[in-house]
């Protein structure tokens, strides 16, 4: 009998990966807060989740209508939910980073990371308990 870590850990592993990735995107926004024409970006949780749920919708397949047509895989259609943010108060230099918004999102993201971590940690604690037979 083997323990399947994928089944035991559930969605939290992916959630932590997503949070880590989003932290990098938000940190990039904050680093470019004074860069002219920089457009703030963010990852949409909904679309990232949808992509995880049905990964087969990711590429455009070319139809082959002739036997000598070669099979070709399309490139990724979307970019994992990486979107541009709509600014509430656009600035004159074309920069759409709003520092207070980004800061809030970053903090929220790191709290959600903490939450995922707590879940993951308790899963591991449960597994250790099961192994020890306590």
């Amino acid at each position: 009998m083997a323990i399947s870590f994928d089944k035991a850990l559930g969605v939290h592993e992916d959630a932590m990966r997503f949070r880590g990735h989003r932290a990098a995107v938000l940190a990039n926004n904050l680093a470019n807060a004074d860069t002219p024409n920089y457009k703030a970006r963010d990852i949409d949780f909904q679309s990232a989740l949808a992509e995880k749920m049905n990964p087969q919708n990711k590429t455009i397949e070319l139809q082959t209508t002739h036997q000598s047509h070669r099979e070709a895989k399309g490139l990724l259609v979307d970019d994992g939910g990486l979107k541009y943010r709509t600014p509430q108060q656009p600035s004159i230099d074309g920069n759409t980073v709003e520092e207070q918004v980004e800061h809030g999102q970053y903090m929220e993201n790191s709290l959600a990371f903490q939450a995922s971590f707590t879940f993951l940690n308790s899963k591991f604690k449960g597994l250790i308990g099961a192994i020890k037979g306590e």
Binding site: A24, A33, S110
Partner: protein, 144 residues
């Protein structure tokens, strides 16, 4: 690992802001540096920021990996085109034949606001790095 990128990004942001603070310090320090000719006079210096784009195509995985998280870079430092300030000071030791000395085109008020903005942005990047550090430290205690 995406969290490792946060350190690079925040580091590049701190780097850029400290360079901006450096040019501001240089501008304020030289705000009253007079010169006798137009060519030799100090001109205000300003860094030019640009986002780093990292659009590497990974053909093996058939993914256009649009990794935009790469931080900020300083393209260069440009000198200001603003008009210089000629002043009629015939008793100044640097005065030219007509009695004029040229003062730099540095606006001290602008430089002060630049300084405040740069130090605030630096602070934000430090906070980002700090909380990323906490996240990584927490991951290291996984399963303990």
């Amino acid at each position: 690992m995406a969290l490792g990128n946060v350190f690079d990004i925040a580091g590049s942001g701190m780097n850029a802001q400290s360079l901006r603070l450096n040019t501001t310090a240089s501008n304020i320090a030289n705000a009253q540096t007079a010169s006798s000719s137009v060519d030799e006079v100090y001109r205000g210096r300003h860094p030019v920021f640009a986002a780093v784009y990292n659009k590497a195509m990974d053909f093996n995985s058939n993914q256009a990996s649009s990794d935009s998280e790469a931080g900020v870079q300083v393209l260069g430092v440009v000198e200001s085109d603003a008009p210089l300030q000629p002043r009629y000071e015939p008793h100044h030791p640097m005065a030219n034949d007509e009695g004029y000395v040229y003062y730099p085109n540095v606006n001290v008020v602008e430089e002060m606001t630049n300084m405040i903005s740069a130090s605030r942005s630096f602070q934000v990047n430090v906070e980002v790095m700090n909380s990323a550090k906490q996240m990584v430290q927490r991951v290291l205690t996984l399963g303990q």
